[in-house]
Amino acid sequence: MNYTFNQKNKTIAFVLIAIGLVSIAASFLTHNHQAWSNLLHNTFYFMAISLAGTFFLAVQYAAEVGWSVVLKRILEAMGTFLPFAAILMLVVFFGNLMAGHNGGHYIYHWLHHDLYDPASAEYDKIIAGKSGYLNLPFFVIRMLAYFAIWIGFTRLFRKLSLKEDIEGGSANYLKARKYSATFLVLFAVTSSTSAWDFIMSIDTHWYSTLFGWYTFAGMFISGLAVMNFIMVYLVKKGNMPFITEHHLHDAGKFMFAFSIFWTYLWFAQFMLIWYANIPEEVTYFMIRFEHYRPLFIANFLINFIAPFLVLMTRDAKRKLNLLMTISVVLFIGHWIDVFLMVTPGVVKEHWHIGWMEIGTTLGFLGLFMYVIQVSLAKAPLLREKHPLLQESLHHSI
C-alpha cells in the first residue's frame, strides 16, 4: 500500500514546472503588469490549499475523529508544501519590494512612503492612520511568525505520525491531539490576520470584518477539493483499497457542506456592502462587478450552483468520477475566487487571463504535485498503528 512516484508523473510535474518558469519569465520580460499579482495569486492559493490540509488534520486529531484515519496521510502530504509556499511568498514579497523601489509597481499600495508624509501631495490620512499595524517591519515579523507556526506544527504532526508507525500505542496520538488543539487556536487567529495581511491590505482603504472568515472558507473548500482529488486518484490507481464508498460519501459531504458555507460567507459579505451602499466599502465590489463581471458571476455559479446541484444526491457523493470532476471544478472555481481577491486591487480594470496567467498557475501546480507525490511516496498510505484505525476501516454510514 505504498505509493510510488513513477517516471510518468515526474515528467508531467517537470513539464508543468517548465511551463510555469517560461510563463513567469515571459511575463516579466514582456512587462506584463499582472506579473506580480499572478505570482501572489498563485502563491497564496497553493499556500491556502496546503494550509487547509494541516488544518483539517488538526481538526481530526482535536475532535478524535475515527472515520478519517485512512485519509490522514493525504492531509499530511498536503501540509508538506507549506515550506515551499513560505519561500515563494517571501520571494514574491521581497522581490516586489525591490522592484517597487526601482520605480516598479508595488502589489501593496501601503508600501509607498509618500502616503505617510504629511508634507507630500500623496499624503493619505486614512492609510497613515493604519501605519501602527501596516508597516514594513511588523508585516515581515507577522509573515515570518505565520510560517513558523504553520510549518512548525505541520512538521510536528508528521513527525508524531511517522513515530507512531514504528512505536504503535496511543502516546503519539494523544500528543498530536494536544498539539492540534494549540494549533487550532493559533490558526483561528493567524488565518484571519494572514488574510488581512496578504490580501485585504492590497485594497488598503477598504476593509471587511468578515474577510478573514471568508478567506478561510475558500481556503478550506479548495483544500477539501484537492484532498478529494488525491483520494480518488489513489483509489483509482489501486493504492488505497481500504477506502470504501462510505469514506467517499463523507468526504463528498464535507465538500458539499463547505461549498454552501463558502457561499454563505461570500454572500453575507457582498449583501451587507451592497445594501448599505457606503462609498468606501462599495468601491471594492464596483470594480469587481463592472470590470470583472464574467469572472464575478462564474465565481458564484461554479463554487455554489455546481457543487450544490451535483453533490446533493447520495449517489453522487459515492461515485469516483463525479467526485473527481467536481473537485476539479471547485479547484478552478476557487482559483477564480482568489484571482478576484488579488488582481483587481493590484491592476484595477486592466486585467486579462492569457497563456502567461494560466502557465504561471500550471507551474505552481507542477511544483505542488511534485512535492505532494514525494511526500506520499515517503510513508505507507495507511497508518497501520493508528489507535482509531479499525473504526475507520469499518466505517459505515
Binding site: F267, M271, Y275, N277, R314, S396
Partner: protein, 171 residues
C-alpha cells in the same frame, strides 16, 4: 384474504440483527423492526428501499423559493415599488440580493414542514389516531420484529421461528 402480522419481541439489538437473515432463509417476510435507536446494518438486512423523503424535500424547497420570490416581487416590485438600499431599480433580478435571506428562510420553512407533514401522513400519525402499541417498552429497551404472514398456520410458524432465535415472547 387479509395479511396478518406476527410480532416477536426481543431484548437485544444484536440478536434481532442476526435473526433477520436466518428468518429470510426460511422464506419469512420480515417487514419491519421497531427499535428505540438506529441499528447499524438494519436497513441493509431488511432490504428496505431508500426513502423518497429527500425528493419531496427538494420539491417543497423549490416551492418555498418560488413562493417567497413571488410574494416579494408582488409586494416590493409590482404592487408597491420600493427603493431598496438607495437603488431604485424596481426589478426583481436587480434587487435580488436583498430578497435572498427571506427566500432562504422560506425554502427551509417549506422543506422542513413539508417533510414533517409528509412523514406523518405516510406513517398515519395524524392527531386523534389511536397508536398501535405492540410493546410499551419498544421506545425504551425492547425491539419488535414484524413478519408478514398469510394464514394462522403461517403465523404460528413465524412465532415458533422467532422464539427459536431468541425472542422473549411473541404476539
Amino acid at each position: 384474504m387479509s395479511t396478518k402480522i406476527a410480532y416477536g419481541i426481543f431484548d437485544d439489538d444484536d440478536v434481532v440483527l442476526h435473526a433477520i437473515p436466518k428468518l429470510q432463509e426460511k422464506k419469512f417476510k420480515v417487514v419491519d423492526v421497531i427499535s428505540p435507536f438506529p441499528i447499524h446494518g438494519l436497513d441493509h438486512a431488511l432490504g428496505l428501499k431508500r426513502t423518497r423523503i429527500s425528493m419531496t424535500a427538494f420539491m417543497y424547497g423549490i416551492t418555498g423559493t418560488s413562493l417567497a420570490l413571488l410574494m416579494m416581487w408582488y409586494m416590493n416590485i409590482w404592487d408597491w415599488p420600493m427603493d431598496i438600499g438607495g437603488k431604485p431599480s424596481f426589478a426583481l433580478y436587480k434587487n435580488l440580493p436583498a430578497f435572498i435571506p427571506v427566500t432562504f428562510e422560506s425554502t427551509v420553512l417549506c422543506a422542513a414542514h413539508g417533510m414533517v407533514i409528509t412523514f406523518y401522513l405516510r406513517s398515519k400519525l395524524l392527531p386523534g389516531v389511536e397508536p398501535v402499541i405492540i410493546d410499551a417498552r419498544a421506545t425504551d429497551d425492547r425491539f419488535v420484529m414484524a413478519i408478514e404472514v398469510k394464514t394462522d398456520a403461517d403465523k404460528d410458524a413465524a412465532h415458533a421461528a422467532m422464539k427459536a432465535l431468541g425472542a422473549m415472547y411473541v404476539k
